[in-house]
């Protein structure tokens, strides 16, 4: 066979193509130049998206990974290019998203000399990545890239960074792709649960009278949606989900209760507190879902099935902790679960549910538009079938409450880190994979201004995304906290916006503005006809709140509710027009 002498730069492309990558989000610069130069030889296999800020590149890779189940790839130069990726890496770390970031580094001889655009990115990202690499020898380049992808997508997935000095990119070597499988140290996670664990779990489930399933992001990552529903249906167990577990059970399913936690449904939180058994699946008892841990679900036995053993007994002590692959465990568990009806329990929960619908903002007539109404109408006009990418804040919680997801993985959002600015770039990334679905970005006026530069990328790529800016003139969620806990002293939460229609025009995409509810369907239909990015600004009530709410650190069922509709309408009437 003819020898293939390749540069390090070429090896990078050869290797990532072998990992199934066909799109890379990046930004060129001094130390990554050799790799960008080599890109010219791989144009037929790789589409490169030029972002406008490296944070955008990481969120795009992240959005692509969430939408596709593949590994997203971002690329940047050393120094500021690399440090701009830190937020995106941390976002992916907290939500267990497989992305690989490749950064250029100053030549080996210059490392440690504070050279121009030198930063120790390998060390910088240790706390925000699953793993990181610095490739000091071209002989290790191909095997390192192969290992990096394996690390990113295996076990509990996560972000990986590979730092490659410029002279390693320029070096040449006879290229042989490493055929041997990647092998990593340590106790590899078993796929299967032990028989004792399964038996213990089954006993608890079969004896429970008031069980609840807590559905987390791990359900998607392990592909266990069907098994969870099967478990719920067999033993008549209602399901509450975390923010990232949205869509794990079809919203219309009779056993679906809704979201749990700080802005979760009243009924779900009550059910959790009152339950005699919690079956936590692929979730980690984050403080936003538990409220006060000390009083969390005080009378229940707890089963926790989770791939990462360090999550078990971390925040909430459990009775049966099963560290393994969720889907495999479910398949083992199902034959041991006896069929039964929990009629009393389900009836109690429905009682709680009807109580909260009396407080629902979307059912009342108002002159001003409310964020919740916008989201409910987008849901209606897209038949609940869009891929939604949300940012962070009030609109994010409203989406989780009012957009009823019927299919798995149709909501992409930054849950763990809560990264403002995530949605626009993540949606651009997702658009490279999910072309069949309408993609809607739901974003606040604060969040959009954090990464608004990526509008240029959306236009350049003609990304098929619809951007709904829910504009309330405030950093709404922070303002809500100020109203509730800081006597309405609105320090630095009123935020001005540019004229979004002019922004749209300047960037070269169609723009609409809506401030009346009856205009929404018409605009959404118009938007649907347009290929490529579209921006719609919804001007909404400034002082609306997200209800219900569990104040940070309070007991989970100690919720602040929206006033009942009748009462609420009276307050609306009496309110001064300036509000």
């Amino acid at each position: 066979m003819k020898k293939r002498i390749l540069t390090g730069a070429e090896i990078i492309w050869e290797c990532i193509i072998r990992e199934g990558v066909d799109v890379v989000f990046g930004y060129p610069g001094g130390t990554i130049l050799p790799t960008y130069d080599a890109l010219n030889n791989y144009r037929d296999k790789i589409h490169h998206v030029l972002v406008r800020h490296e944070q955008g590149a990481t969120h795009m890779a992240d959005g692509y990974a969430r939408a596709s189940g593949k590994v997203g790839v971002a690329m940047a130069t050393s120094g500021p290019g690399a440090t701009n990726m830190v937020t995106g890496l941390a976002t992916a770390k907290l939500d267990s998203i497989p992305i690989v970031c490749i950064t250029g580094q100053v030549p080996r001889a210059a490392i440690g000399t504070d050279a121009f655009q030198e930063i120790d990115i390998y060390g910088t990202v240790i706390p925000v990545t699953k793993h990181s690499y610095l490739v000091m020898d071209i002989n290790n380049l191909a095997s390192t890239i192969k290992e990096a992808f394996a690390v990113a997508r295996s076990g509990r997935p996560g972000p990986v960074l590979i730092d490659i000095p410029k002279d390693v990119q320029n070096d040449t070597i006879e290229f042989v792709y490493p055929d041997e499988p990647v092998r990593l140290p340590g106790n590899n996670r078993p796929l299967e649960a032990s028989e004792k664990h399964i038996q213990d779990a089954a006993d608890l489930i079969n004896n429970a009278k008031k069980p609840v399933i807590l559905a987390g992001h791990g359900i998607f990552l392990s592909g266990a949606c069907q098994e969870i529903i099967q478990l719920a249906e067999t033993a008549s167990i209602p399901i509450g989900w975390t923010l990232l577990g949205s869509g794990s059970v079809p919203a219309s399913h009779p056993l679906n209760m809704g979201m749990m936690g700080m802005h979760g449904e009243f009924a779900v939180n009550n059910a959790i507190q009152d339950a005699d058994l919690l079956i936590a699946c692929g979730m980690r008892f984050d403080d936003r879902v538990t409220g006060n841990v000390k009083t969390y679900s005080p009378n229940s036995k707890k089963i926790h099935i989770e791939i990462d053993p360090s999550e078990i007994n971390k925040n909430v002590p459990v009775d049966v902790g099963i560290p393994c692959d969720l889907r495999t465990a479910m398949k083992q568990l199902l034959p041991h679960v006896s069929r039964k009806q929990n009629k009393e329990w389900i009836k109690t929960i429905s009682g709680w549910q009807s109580e909260s619908s009396e407080r629902d903002i979307i059912n009342i007539q108002t002159d001003t538009l409310y964020g919740a109404q916008v989201i409910r109408d987008i849901w209606k006009e897209t038949n609940g079938d869009a891929l939604i990418v949300t940012d962070v804040g009030q609109h994010q919680m409203l989406e989780a409450q009012y957009y009823a997801h019927e299919e798995p993985n149709t909501l992409l959002t930054s849950g763990g880190l809560g990264t403002m600015g995530f949605s626009l770039p993540a949606a651009i990334g997702a658009s490279f994979y999910r072309q069949k679905k309408d993609i809607w970005v739901i974003v606040g006026d604060g969040s959009i201004q954090m990464t608004i530069t990526e509008l240029a990328t959306a236009v350049q790529e003609n990304a098929n995304i619809n951007i709904a800016i829910i504009n309330n003139g405030y950093l709404g969620m922070v303002r809500q906290w100020q109203q509730l806990f800081y006597d309405a002293r609105y320090a630095e939460t009123p935020i001005s916006s540019p004229d979004y229609l002019k922004i749209a025009e300047a960037y070269g995409l169609p723009g609409f503005r809506v401030d009346k509810r009856q205009e929404i369907p018409g605009v959404i239909h118009k938007v649907k006809e347009i290929k490529g990015p579209v921006l719609v600004e919804f001007v909404v009530e400034q002082h609306d709140m997200v209800y219900p709410m569990v104040p940070a650190g309070a007991d989970l069922n100690d919720m602040v509710s929206r006033p009942k509709n009748k009462q609420f309408q009276e307050t609306l009437k009496s309110r001064s027009p300036s509000l």
């Binding site: 340590g186 106790n187 078990i312 692959d325 299919e407 798995p408």
Partner: protein, 183 residues
């Protein structure tokens, strides 16, 4: 109670940084951390002593250290029969008359003089923490110039398979490609 961990890691540059950063970010104070080579070329062994009393946090740090890619295994030696020992050098400015008395103190832990030539004497001490501490305490009445302590190294007693680390590499289980199947 102090927690003593034996951590087996890949001998890669930066691995020490990774381990200490992982412990530091949980705001644990590292009392000592000693790393060195082992009977196997590619494996570095660390003994880490931590000052975190909370049992839940202790368990979490062990489990999460095991999740690091460079880590083969972690043995928590705190509650199993093990030998946790350290080494210290003590430099004392001694009067000739005191030499005999000091020698007696030091010999109680099999310590010895390793440098008695100049105007100061250097003693070498080895032993369990308590022993080393006791000797240092007893030496306080003399003119101690310097003390250096190695930090602790630990070895589990016996050959119980329950306390043997898993020092093998394996292929990871794939899961994320399953996201596609859930559509």
């Amino acid at each position: 109670m102090k927690q003593t961990l034996i951590v087996f890691v890949q001998d890669n540059p930066g691995v020490l940084n990774r381990i200490s950063s992982h412990i530091r970010r949980r705001n644990f104070n590292i009392e000592s951390l000693v790393a060195g080579r082992t009977e196997r070329k590619e494996i570095t062994r660390m003994t880490v002593v931590l000052n975190e009393p909370d049992k839940t946090k202790q368990r979490t740090v062990v489990n999460s250290l095991k999740e690091l890619i460079d880590v083969y295994d972690v043995i928590d030696a705190t509650e199993i029969d093990s030998h946790i020992r350290e080494y210290a050098l003590v430099k004392v400015a001694l009067k000739k008359d005191d030499l005999g008395a000091v020698n007696k103190i030091v010999e109680s832990v099999h310590g010895k003089i390793i440098d008695g030539t100049g105007d100061a004497t250097i003693f070498e001490l080895t032993g369990y923490e308590k022993e080393v501490e006791a000797v240092i305490e007893a030496l306080q009445k003399y003119d101690i110039l310097e003390i250096v302590r190695s930090g602790k190294v630990a070895m589990v007693a016996g050959n119980n398979s329950k306390h043997q680390p898993e020092l093998t590499k394996s292929e990871p289980n794939w899961t994320t490609s399953r996201i596609l199947e859930s559509y």
